[in-house]
């Protein structure tokens, strides 16, 4: 029998080629986001220089290093912060792909957080079961909160932006009512601590001193599942068709009403998971002053930076959490952490005009090319 010799060199070369090609394609796809991030950071740097030139560069450095500034503890906290916004980003991105704007991710997250806490405080279940049930309940709560705007849109053509905004405010007030009724910690005006058993397994062994938990792993798994659903299944096919062309998908026989409802419900469930992950930590409580969680709006930035793709939301979420952590550490430089929100705003803005910008850049590149040609021609002439 002839035995085919496996030439290791060839294998490595092929693997290398695939990776290289993949990276190259990823780079081309990600270019708009990278340009946006670059410009955002540049403008942030300029603002910092205006206000305090000396500290500007070291501060920018701290910003970019982000969570790593605080060593393992910083990294751990970064991962803890990242997981919820990865999931809200996924929620917004998923809805985007179906042609809907889910501005209600905050409300869905809030309902998920409350229900998770509720189960974590008021029920006693054996160890692992407790947090799993609490987590799933939170996911379900978010799903319901997303279902309602979805139904309103599908059945009554109610603009989902307006209905989602209403749902955010309803959630905000409902939370106060429910907390004060069922899980009230009156001495501190907030929700009670959850039982130990309801807590998501922590990763303090790997990241001592931080609140890192397995939430980040859950987020990664969910992102992958979402990606598979969207791109590999019949359900995803239908959702994307509806997102690109509602009339076209209707003509093709797809049940567009069902698609809208499904998309918003799934989207809500992702955001609900975000709430559960963020608050199934002993010592994390929701206050009774009215608020709408900001993570929902971060989700919009994450979805945009991630170019509307689940995998994109993963990386964008990690990036955002990292520079947020960087902003926290940057405080030792007398810069207010809000600088990072301004940078993010600029990044989002640049992403919005990215296609037009690319045209502008192309024109500049061609100008520069023709200039340099003229210069070189002159040199040769001499």
């Amino acid at each position: 029998m002839h035995e085919k010799k496996i030439n290791m060199k060839d294998v490595i070369k092929n693997v290398g080629k695939v990776i290289y090609r993949g990276l190259k394609r990823a780079f081309i796809v990600m270019k708009p986001s990278l340009v946006a991030i670059g410009l955002g950071l540049l403008i942030g740097l300029m603002i910092m220089i205006i206000f305090d030139a000396g500290d500007a560069f070291p501060a920018l450095g701290t910003l970019l290093i982000g969570g790593f500034n605080g060593g393992l503890r910083g990294i751990g906290n970064t991962l803890y912060q990242a997981a919820p916004i990865i999931l809200t980003g996924l929620a917004v991105a998923f809805a985007f792909r179906t042609g809907l704007f889910n501005i209600g991710a905050s409300g869905q997250m809030m309902m998920g957080a409350y229900v998770a806490i509720h189960i974590g405080v008021r029920y006693s279940l054996p160890g692992t079961l407790h947090w799993i049930v609490a987590f799933l309940a939170g996911m379900l709560a978010g799903a319901i909160w997303g279902l309602i705007p979805g139904l309103l849109k599908a059945l009554s053509n109610v603009n989902e932006v307006v209905s989602s905004i209403m749902m955010n405010y309803i959630a905000g007030n409902l939370l106060i009512i429910l907390i004060m009724r069922y899980v009230f910690n009156s001495s501190y005006s907030r929700s009670l601590n959850i039982l130990r058993t309801a807590e998501l397994p922590l990763l303090t062994s790997v990241f001592p001193g931080s609140t890192a938990n397995i939430g980040i792993f859950i987020a990664i798994i969910v992102v992958v599942i979402a990606h598979i659903i969207l791109h590999k299944t019949t359900l995803g096919f239908g959702l994307r068709a509806s997102g690109f062309s509602m009339p076209g998908s209707k003509y093709a026989g797809m049940n567009t009403k069902a698609n809208i409802i499904t998309a918003m419900t799934l989207s809500g469930s992702f955001a609900g998971m975000a709430g559960a992950i963020a608050f199934l930590v002993v010592g994390k409580n929701i206050g009774t002053a009215f608020e709408i969680f900001p993570q929902g709006f971060d989700g919009i930035s994450v979805a945009l930076l991630g170019l509307g793709e689940p995998i994109g939301a993963l990386f964008a979420g990690l990036f955002l959490a990292n520079i947020r952590m960087g902003a926290f550490y940057m405080q030792r430089y007398s810069f207010v952490p809000q600088i990072i929100d301004m940078i993010i705003a600029v990044i989002v803005y640049v992403t919005a005009i990215s296609s037009a910008l690319q045209i502008v850049f192309k024109r500049y590149r061609e100008q520069i090319k023709s200039w340099s040609k003229r210069i070189f021609k002159k040199k040769e002439g001499q």
Binding site: K232, T233, S245, S249, M254
Partner: protein, 507 residues
């Protein structure tokens, strides 16, 4: 004598496409000058340059012998150039009056003053017999009246160079006749008319001179009187064109599609009132009618895009009246939609996905909900070969980047290759060049020859006459006549289409 309008060496480029390639056009005053060419030949583009909507990369324009620069429609208006567009540019929610004065409003301190405008318009209406109610809303008036509004827009701005872009597409034969009289009247008064069209017999009827464009280039300018239709057609297409369609006599089978007393809601004449007809195997049933007489609503109701108020629809013996769209496809209906970009495809999907748009959920294309991409691609490649669908990257091309003709071939291929017994084709050759039109016509005949039932809705009377075995005419939502294409004439059809004649219908 100087020309009234002279466009010299006009070149207009869109991306890499030369829409106009060094085209020179010379028009005398008082002339009715036709611009002939297929879809995409560049006629509309050239006129848009004249009207200031596009700026040419090269070339210049002279009016009355003087070189001019036309940067926008305002400049064109000032030079006396007016344009009636193919797709009307009217605001539906405004009145006729507001649509006409938009852009040239008389104002006092910013507030619009209507008196002068009304006076002038009433004079114009009387003079040119363009009767229309100034206070009516555009969405409530007929298409013929809307066109009159577009003409009044030009006259209100004192245009004496009038451009008409495919004006007859939406008119009955009688209205076309009236329009031609109006155009001759304009010409007698010394106005200059530019007529964009691809309809040879209309050129013959009303034009003095004809310039032929093909693929962006000017082929020639001829006197209409001295040139035959065949020659014009050959100039337009570049080869000999056969005007007859090969349609053998075949035996028709049983009725497989039955519509009984159908009522569909719609605005006024758009609704469908008590419509009944049958389609047999091996038959092409054509429905003729002016756009906006209920055909769109009829098809939307039959295919499931619109709800049915009352009546019954059955296919292959089963009642499909209220079935969901997917079920209708499964029972054996195929549908080439009127608006191919809106309904027929998902423009931002790739070709292979579009080719399985209706049956992606079926077991051959998925397993446990996971799509089988290699089979999907094979299926696409098979259709690409069979139906000559051309695209840059084959099955993976994004449909938005394909030409209109190839998009339509893709839709046609998908609808024909799927299991079906009835094919509903609405405006299947709209906007396509002659080659594609011939191909699609031959495919429709082939369907009929293979004992499928074909329901054809079209605004092109020639297409209806050539392809149909039987013709029904629709007017204001009702079937008002049933005619035999071998025995009837375009004029007779026109009478039915405009409601002037009604007949017995035992469809």
């Amino acid at each position: 004598m100087a020309y009234k309008v002279e466009m010299r060496h006009i070149t207009k480029i869109f991306g890499t496409l030369y829409a106009n390639d060094d085209v020179t056009l010379q028009v005398k005053q008082g002339e009715i000058h036709a611009l002939l060419g297929e879809n995409g030949a560049g006629k509309s583009t050239l006129m848009s340059v004249l009207f200031g909507l596009y700026h040419p990369e090269q070339g210049d324009i002279l009016i009355d012998g003087q070189p001019v620069v036309i940067k926008n429609p305002n400049d064109a208006n000032r030079l006396g150039i007016g344009m009636v567009h193919q797709h009307f540019k009217l605001v539906d929610t405004f009145t006729v009056l507001d649509n006409i004065i938009l852009g040239v409003e008389d104002t006092k301190n910013g507030i619009i003053q209507y008196d002068q405008a009304i006076k002038k318009l009433e004079h114009l209406i009387q003079t040119y017999k363009l009767h229309v109610d100034l206070k009516a809303y555009i969405k409530d008036i007929t298409v013929g009246q809307q066109q009159r509004v577009e003409i009044l827009k030009m006259l209100y701005r004192d245009a004496d160079i009038l451009i008409f872009d495919e004006p007859t597409a939406v008119l009955t034969p009688q209205e076309i006749h009236e329009l031609m009289n109006i155009m001759r009247g304009f010409a007698k008064e010394g106005k200059t008319i530019l007529l964009i069209t691809h309809k040879l017999n209309e050129i013959k009827a009303v034009a003095d001179i004809c310039t032929v464009l093909r693929r962006g280039k000017k082929i020639g300018t001829v006197s209409v009187k001295d040139t035959s239709i065949e020659t014009l057609a050959e100039m337009m297409v570049g080869r000999e064109v056969s005007f007859s369609v090969d349609k053998p006599e075949i035996n028709q089978g049983e009725t497989i599609f039955k519509v009984e007393h159908l009522n569909v809601s719609g605005q006024g004449r758009h609704s469908v009132k008590d419509v009944s007809f049958e389609v047999h195997r091996g038959e092409i049933l054509g429905i003729a009618g002016i756009d906006g007489n209920g055909q769109t609503e009829l098809i939307h109701a039959l295919t499931g895009l619109k709800p049915i108020l009352s009546g019954q629809v059955s296919l292959m013996g089963s009642d499909i009246t209220h079935l969901p769209i997917r079920k209708k496809y499964e029972i054996g209906m195929s549908h080439i939609p009127e608006d191919r970009q809106k309904h027929g495809v998902v423009m931002d999907f790739d070709l292979q996905s579009n080719l399985i748009l209706q049956n992606y959920y079926q077991p051959q294309f998925q397993k446990h909900s996971f799509l089988k991409f290699d089979i999907i691609q094979d299926h696409a490649n098979e259709l690409i070969n069979r139906f000559d669908i051309r695209s840059e990257r084959g099955a993976k091309t994004i449909v938005r980047q394909m030409s209109g003709g190839n998009q339509q071939k893709a839709i046609l291929g998908r609808e024909i290759s799927r299991n079906h017994e009835l094919l509903i084709a609405v405006q299947p050759t709209r906007g396509l060049d002659v080659g594609a039109i011939e191909y699609i016509h031959s495919q429709l005949i082939a369907e009929r020859n293979q004992q499928k039932a074909v329901l054809l809705i079209s605004l092109e009377l020639e297409e209806i006459m050539n392809l149909s075995d039987r013709i029904l005419v629709m007017y204001e939502g009702e079937i008002v006549g049933e005619l035999d294409p071998k025995k009837t004439t375009v004029n007779e059809l026109g009478l039915y289409m405009s409601g002037a004649k009604r007949g017995d219908v035992h469809a």
